[in-house]
Symmetry: C2
Subunit: 339 residues, 2 copies
Amino acid sequence: MATIKDVARRAGVTISTVSYAINGTRPVSEKTRAVIFQAMDDLGYRPHAMARALASKRTRILALLFSPLERGLGLTELEFVTCAADAAKERGYHLVLWSTEIHDEEDIRHLSSQGLVDGAVLMEVQEDDPRIGFLQDLKLPFAMIGRTAAGEGLLSVDIDFGRTLSDAVDHLVGLGHQRIAFLNQSREVYDSGYGPAVRGLAGFEAAIQRAGATGYRVFAHANPAGGADAIGELMNDHPDVTAIVMMNDRAIPGVIQALSERSLTVPEDVSLLSVASSPRVAEMFVPALTSMDVPSEELGRLSVEYLVSTLEDRPAEGGDLVPCTLVVRGSTGSAPQSL
Amino acid sequence: MATIKDVARRAGVTISTVSYAINGTRPVSEKTRAVIFQAMDDLGYRPHAMARALASKRTRILALLFSPLERGLGLTELEFVTCAADAAKERGYHLVLWSTEIHDEEDIRHLSSQGLVDGAVLMEVQEDDPRIGFLQDLKLPFAMIGRTAAGEGLLSVDIDFGRTLSDAVDHLVGLGHQRIAFLNQSREVYDSGYGPAVRGLAGFEAAIQRAGATGYRVFAHANPAGGADAIGELMNDHPDVTAIVMMNDRAIPGVIQALSERSLTVPEDVSLLSVASSPRVAEMFVPALTSMDVPSEELGRLSVEYLVSTLEDRPAEGGDLVPCTLVVRGSTGSAPQSL
DNA sequence: CTGTTAGCGCATTCAG
DNA sequence: CTGAATGCGCTAACAG
């Protein structure tokens, strides 16, 4: 592998000039610059990442933190990963995977103290995420996908639940639905203050009120049985419901099953709209579910862009909210005529 | 951050002694060794990854290559990623994500020439994967998850399709099924020589023959419509089939739908067994699908272990095959009595 | 605009 | 068994 020395010799200049030509840290005459680049080309030279990092004290490597605890990693998280990697690459950065127990300070400290990364992106951020304190102590810059309860002034990107639920409800109301249910995560998860569950429901209620419709709420455990139970409860209490907004992927099979057992067809009798799910999941059903797809690409990308910006002294705002986008498939239709 | 120098001073020795104590490259007396480790502890010292890499010419960083082209990345691939990261961590390595177009030699060359990684793990390996030639040219050690058509003598781990299909067929035959269908990927994918499709079918045929049962084969496009079409064809040609082995996740919803439209219930009339799918997918259905789950954890883990072994001059064998494991859920049952 | 030089933090020769 | 001295490849002062 050619080194900067070889390039310098071939171009007839000193290594520092080559260095400056590469980094643009200092003006270099058009002429020598050309000679240098020619030489680099000829030799197929690439700056040695490690050497550059050691000297400049900037590794151009970012860590992507995720926790095996919550191994509920799904398609959405996969997209975060791949999109973050792409975004990093475009900015000339690399992404390393750090899987750490969420509360294992020692582990995070250990990884961070190796000086391998310039900053970190946090996935699966919890309402009260201990990792944040650790990183702040370590003075390691970071950006989050998701939000903490308190977390102000921190770099983050998250789903705009208000806007998302508003769009969801509007879609249904536009189809003539007036009695709409919101199928949330489980009661326990909601009570624990899990952000999406809380913000999702709040957004739903606000949207319902604004639209002058009637809203019902149900909680469901994240599995088919949970979905079925929830439908049982819902149909018992409010048999007049005509549409269900679901924010609980894993419960969906049970919902559909329970509906069909009651001879309710989708979307003729009941419209179904899945919020914050991924297209792949929506297409697993027949009919395919109309859904509000998570802007996972944008979230993954923005989080690294914010981080990189601050690392390069172009402080980013942070706190951005991105709404999910409505994709109409086959599970929503006009409200049935009231009997 | 404390450096090796600080440790040396505090321990009253030279940095070289500290270095040797850490790496075990040279005998160090028990006494000084203890003093040194004490000093490291006190200072919370961690070797600086970059400096160590530069001096030793080994970065202890591995690349995980995947191609956006095939963005068919699913839950299984997600597991490869997380498990590979875990395995790397246990071995003291880091994992960086490299997303490269599969045929973009320049891109791979560019990344590799930075000297950032010691080796690479390839995901989504194709029958005739161009990346392999690139990496060989670059002399970058690598291990693959999957196999190439020719690829002998290369480090790889893959699903043992022979064993997997054999187990699948045995399970069904054990339940009394004698006429079993294999729902493959699409004809085009099969003809293109896609490994899993080819090896899966071969394994199925062999197993059927060994079991003295009757096998049918169908191809399906990877979407619900494809699955439905395939069932139409199958039931038309062989209405006596009692079990279907499916190796096409995305087609499953269509299969189930088509079955129910023909008033065939699962598993009373027809048993369904999904091969090489992930538990999460199997549980998306009602009843949950009996399946042969991909040993994704093992594959992800083994691939990095093999790679690390060869990097550390403990050449691994490679070419290992791991079978999927049968998980009985609700979609398989005793064969119906012949009419 | 360009050259000279001193490190970055560590591994590893060579001496002792 | 330990210490002193080089250099990995590059950046960034400091001098012209």
